[in-house]
Symmetry: C2
Subunit: 346 residues, 2 copies
């Protein structure tokens, strides 16, 4: 019965405990005990199971858990810092996915402290959560959590530095790329970037994508894009765009590191006597309604699909709990929403 369930739940890419048991020639229960290090398993069986698990690259933990521990139908959601607007759509997407499966969500926040994060994790484990979703503050890779071996962890927004973990992040390189592709398709050639902070992987990844897209078209970003990292705010956008337009008056488009920066860029473009989008087109990142819709004209922006990201990570966590374990860093697609600032109707 258990055995059948497992096979039904498995995909072509994943190895189940049933597969391991079959390969080792033992029962699923014995395989589970062997992998869990519990008594009442002969040394011979244990060795056979471990060998089969290794040969099949099987990760025992989630299955062992499902077999040996009653599920609490509770998921831990461990946020790095709730005081961060990127967290909200991710929470929303995750809560959506968990809610649909009648799982409850225990919320814990680390207040951007590694020590507190560890304490919060322990508290979640004490409450016997079935799995933990770790929601980062930035997309910078972060050290893996030290959870229990039988409690799966999935990382979202900030990927784990351990590639054996499963992490979901927005594809920031793609974001930079589609911003440029959109501008080139609109006939722009003298494209510059006004970036966010260089300590953020998001800023570096977007620049890399933008530069690669330019190169694909035989173009180069105007100015030295490595020199225009700055802050994530409007005032930096104004300042950097002012300098950019003075040094390169023929710029016909600016990729801004965020919608917030874009708002500052738009002010500076307008104050230089140029029209948006006629003289200079502007594209931002985040597609933050409150900023894009307040802009004149409305701001074209790359939507990082954060709600979808949260939902996907939550679904993957449920799969992990059910024994279908994936690994690696999954970069989720993003999409550009064209508006007036790059010449679209809006």
């Amino acid at each position: 019965m258990d055995d059948d369930d497992h096979r039904t739940g498995a995909t072509a890419e994943t190895t189940t405990l049933a597969d391991v048991a079959r390969a080792a020639g033992v029962s699923v229960a014995t395989a589970s005990k062997a992998l869990n290090g519990r008594a009442h398993v002969s040394a011979r069986s244990r060795e056979a199971v471990l060998a089969a698990a290794a040969a099949l690259s099987f990760t025992p933990n989630p299955f062992a858990r499902a077999l040996n521990r009653a599920s609490t139908n509770t998921i831990g959601m461990l946020t790095s810092d709730l005081d961060n607007r990127f967290v909200l759509p991710i929470l929303l997407g995750a809560e959506d996915a968990f809610g649909a499966g009648s799982l409850s969500v225990l919320l814990a926040d680390a207040r951007d402290s590694a020590l507190r994060e560890q304490l919060q994790l322990q508290s979640l484990l004490t409450r016997r959560v079935d799995g933990v979703l770790v929601v980062g503050r930035t997309t910078n890779p972060r050290p893996p959590m030290q959870a229990k071996p039988d409690v799966p962890v999935v990382y979202v927004y900030a990927p784990s530095t351990d590639e054996q973990d499963l992490s979901f992040e927005p594809d920031n390189e793609l974001a930079g790329r589609i911003a440029v592709e959109h501008l080139v398709a609109a006939g722009r050639r003298r494209i510059a970037i006004v970036n966010g902070e260089d300590t953020y992987a998001a800023a570096r990844d977007r620049l890399r994508g933008a530069a690669a897209a330019m190169e694909d078209h035989g173009l180069e970003l105007v100015g030295n894009p490595g020199l225009v990292f700055g802050a994530w705010d409007e005032s930096w956008g104004r300042q950097a765009a002012g300098r950019l337009l003075a040094a390169h008056p023929d710029v016909d488009a600016v990729v801004a590191g965020s919608d917030h920066i874009a708002r500052g860029v738009m002010d500076a473009v307008r104050e230089s006597g140029r029209r948006i989008p006629d003289d200079v087109a502007v594209v931002g990142f985040d597609n933050w309604d409150i900023l894009v819709e307040g802009a004149r004209p409305h701001l074209t922006s790359v939507d990082m699909n954060l709600q979808e990201l949260g939902r996907l990570a939550a679904e993957a966590l449920v799969e992990s709990i059910e024994g279908r374990v994936r690994r690696g860093r999954i970069r989720n697609p993003v999409r550009l929403v064209a508006r007036g600032s790059s010449g679209a109707d809006s």
Copy 2:
């Protein structure tokens, strides 16, 4: 032992189960059973307890719960709509308060649907939460939740329409008042308001407070403030301020219904050739960092103290669970943060 604990925990304003037992001349356990409607209590004791409870205005539920049911140390946090930026600081404050008391938080979101809210509440009750914090989407009063009698509910942001419930909301009338007081202290007399949507209690309450403060100084808001309700966005702020300045060119200050509206107002003031704050001072509400710090000059704004609001509501919920039950609508103070748009240094 229990008896002592209860007395220690009680404040002068609250009646404890121990008080009821004392007045009825029975043990705390008997009082609890009587109030719970459980067997093994004589009719005479039951009547004495109910009479004492009525005389002392005692609410049996939380105590009965504490005595009769094992605590799960879990709180339900039921949000009306996670996709609402006002929720985040409230969650943060609440999580802070619960976390400090080693309570876990089960998160459930209603997606702005009354039906889903009821389902989520049932799911939280099935998980035997000790209490529920209901976080609204607006400050408009909302119908009370139909929770179990022994599971306390505290409302935050959106108050319950039932004054027997305990609700926490920001003091929006005070917010309107201190915005005007600040401007009058800065020497402004020709003050107008550009408001948000009139379907929002927040917009109406702020207007009421602003008008009352003007009256205290023998002044009147410029124009007909009842006619300047609009939308919560920049474009409404620009449009309304443009019309206002055309009709009343001597306006020397604008109270904007939100920081977002204020940004639009500032654009219109600047484009009319007036200087901020020299000719026209501007004050917003929400003190939303991303908007106030991007403004030129930085925007003076009323901070609604939402994180504190969340913390206070969470603490009150814990008190309710412990049997110290308060009632009514608590309006939490707000504070003005002075910046360049009203002449302060920043």
